[in-house]
């Protein structure tokens, strides 16, 4: 699958934050979004995810079979992790809802280093662990495009390495990714789009 956006403008409440954005991502390519606070990175991701309407321009997912379900995973600031549900239960819920097309629950938890916490109440997890659980959600259902908003927030050094590994794997499997972040991400060959330079 590939992603092509042309003349895209995005913003909140009718006010454009970033305009005339052109994005073209081929399979296996990743894009870093950079820019100061309030430049509109998160807004652009939401627009790409289809959660916000674009103010102008078009977004196309070429070569994606609409029958196969949504083309993308969005992983935002909020992890969608609820206290009083178990860790494995939470993941199982998302797998059931999105389709079990990826790793098994146990394998995904193993992958993000939460195997030992599978039976715990997800509310007891620290912020970093919750973020790992949110990443595991991307693994249990395979979707070609990942939209990640500050994925490294709350992750410690080991977590950052994990994130880079997951991303590299995903791209190697011909996936796409758009990542908004202030941190460095240790994945080679990411292209960069900087928003709000003029501002």
């Amino acid at each position: 699958m590939s992603l092509v956006a042309e003349g895209l403008a995005c913003g909140r409440g009718g006010h454009a934050l970033a305009a005339d954005i052109a994005i073209a991502l081929a399979p296996g390519q990743g894009l870093l979004l950079r820019g100061p606070n309030g430049a509109g990175k998160s807004t652009l991701l939401l627009t790409l995810a289809g959660l916000l309407p674009p103010l102008a321009g078009s977004i196309r997912y070429a070569g994606h079979d609409a029958e196969a379900g949504p083309a993308l995973h969005y992983c935002g600031h909020r992890n969608g992790v609820r206290a009083r549900l178990g860790v494995a239960q939470t993941l199982d819920f998302w797998a059931g809802l999105n389709g079990r097309t990826g790793l098994s629950i146990a394998a995904a938890l193993e992958e993000v280093g939460l195997a030992g916490a599978a039976g715990l109440d997800a509310g007891y997890l620290s912020a970093g662990q919750q973020r790992r659980l949110a990443l595991a959600r991307l693994l249990v259902t395979r979707r070609p495009l990942w939209l990640l908003d500050e994925p490294s927030a709350a992750l410690d050094t080991a977590g950052q390495a994990l994130l880079a590994r997951l991303l590299a794997d995903h791209l190697a499997r011909n996936g796409l990714a758009v990542i908004a972040t202030h941190d460095a991400i240790a994945v080679p060959d990411l292209s960069v789009l900087t928003l709000g330079e003029a501002a």
Binding site: G50, H73, R78, G80, R84, L85, F93, G96
Partner: protein, 221 residues
């Protein structure tokens, strides 16, 4: 369907594990009903006469009060945004929410109703009719309520707003619900009211998930 039952399971699990929400709601229902005698006086005859109305109003208010916990927590922890990207359509997810809302807020009330009926001195026959009318009518309340919650979920402090918006819409449910119990026009009228109530519930349950999905898609972010 895997996802659908997954949502049902998750929500039921949360409701049962979760912080006494159901207990709070049932208490609200019973306390509201039990306050009435303090306000109108402990006149057995009067109480028995208005008892069906009281039970209905208390159930009505309790179900409206439970709306706030239906979608807001999901929105606040980001789950709602993910629902919009799920494999299952949003309307199916909201249909599951209607069912869950009925199971976790209407059903406990119906189970607690005998207690309220007892202290209000309802006679057994009226009580069974009340139960029947609650069973047939509350699905409509759950459906309307889910729609109201969807409309107000994007507002930060919308706590009381959904009840206010939905209450006028639900007046017909109340009218037919009470009409099915104390048949001023005789048993014929009561039967007609029950049928209308059931029709209302069916229609509301069938349509409200779509309306609610629209409201969320258009109102979010």
């Amino acid at each position: 369907m895997n996802g659908f039952s997954g949502i049902l399971r998750r929500e039921l699990r949360l409701a049962l594990a979760g912080g006494g929400d159901m207990l709070t709601l049932v208490l609200f229902f019973v306390i509201t009903g039990a306050l009435v005698p303090f306000a109108v006086g402990p006149d057995r005859e009067l109480l028995a006469r208005i008892a069906p109305g009281i039970v209905w109003i208390a159930a009505f208010l309790a179900m409206l009060m439970g709306l706030d916990r239906l979608l807001r927590p999901d929105r606040e922890d980001g789950t709602l945004a993910l629902y919009r990207l799920a494999d299952l359509p949003l309307s199916a997810i909201l249909a599951a929410k209607v069912i869950v809302h009925w199971l976790t807020s209407a059903l406990p009330l119906i189970l607690a109703a005998p207690f309220l009926a007892l202290i209000l001195g309802m006679d057994p026959q009226t009580f069974w009719r009340t139960l029947l009318s609650l069973l047939l009518g509350t699905p409509a309340l759950a459906a309307f309520g889910t729609f109201g919650a969807a409309v107000t979920v994007a507002i930060r402090r919308g706590g009381l707003l959904a009840p206010i918006l939905i209450a006028p819409l639900c007046v017909p449910v109340l009218i037919f619900g009470v009409g099915a119990i104390s048949p001023l026009g005789g048993p014929d009228q009561a039967g007609a009211a029950l049928l209308l109530l059931a029709a209302l519930s069916l229609m509301a349950c069938a349509l409200s998930p779509f309306a609610a999905a629209f409201a969320i898609d258009w109102g979010e972010e």
